[in-house]
């Protein structure tokens, strides 16, 4: 009986060690992720002045949104809206694709939260970013 208990203790310990090794690396080298990065990169040249002027800001959920529509000339508003929704489409696809590429679709919201923090962290001074308390300028 005693040896059986010992066996279980050993089993328990080995399971714990597996647990420690479980937190692995994350895969981002897939064609899908590369294509989305490329697409976002080419859009960034158009978005960058909008971030600087405060017309568009970074949201707390890893996306972007129109922050100050009045700073956008009326005829351009439609195209800015289209730009924002295209960017958000890519971003959502990116978070989903990273989760899928790593075999854990359920990680999507964690990935999205991590990206949200990193986007805001890396935003340039003067850009508008959203937090739990609302919009503020970096």
């Amino acid at each position: 009986m005693k040896s059986l208990i010992k066996l279980f203790v050993l089993l328990y310990a080995s399971s714990l060690s597996t647990l420690i090794w479980a937190a692995a690396d994350i895969e981002i080298n897939t064609p899908g992720i590369a294509a989305l990065t490329q697409s976002m990169q080419s859009r960034y040249t158009q978005l960058s002045p909008l971030y600087s002027s405060g017309a568009v800001g970074l949201t707390a959920d890893g996306l972007i949104a129109v922050h100050d529509a009045s700073s956008i000339p009326l005829p351009e508003r439609q195209s800015v809206n289209a730009l924002v929704s295209a960017e958000n489409h890519d971003r959502k696809a990116m978070y989903q694709e990273i989760a899928r590429a790593n075999g854990h679709p359920e990680w999507e919201s964690d990935i999205r939260n991590t990206f949200a923090q990193r986007w805001i962290q890396r935003a340039q001074a003067g850009w508008w970013v959203q937090s739990a308390k609302g919009w503020h300028q970096k």
């Binding site: 089993l11 328990y12 692995a24 994350i26 990273i98 991590t114």
Partner: protein, 66 residues
């Protein structure tokens, strides 16, 4: 008594096995991966001088640990 201990250790092992299946979300690795992607997305932004008193844009070395 021993029977109780036996059941307890089985329960403990089962619990440990359950937790093992739930792999932790690698938060640090994801933050690093996010930085890499964000760097790549924003890199086209070098020749853009929107700010009037902008110093010559120096390439800020991205945090490449290792």
């Amino acid at each position: 008594m021993t029977r109780n201990l036996f059941v307890l250790s089985i329960a403990g092992t089962a619990l440990a096995a359950c937790v093992t299946i739930n792999i932790y979300f690698p938060a640090a690795a994801t933050a690093k991966a996010a930085d890499k992607i964000i760097d790549e997305v924003m890199q086209t932004q070098t020749g853009h001088s929107e700010t009037p008193d902008a110093k010559p844009v120096e390439n800020i070395p991205s945090k490449e640990v290792k």
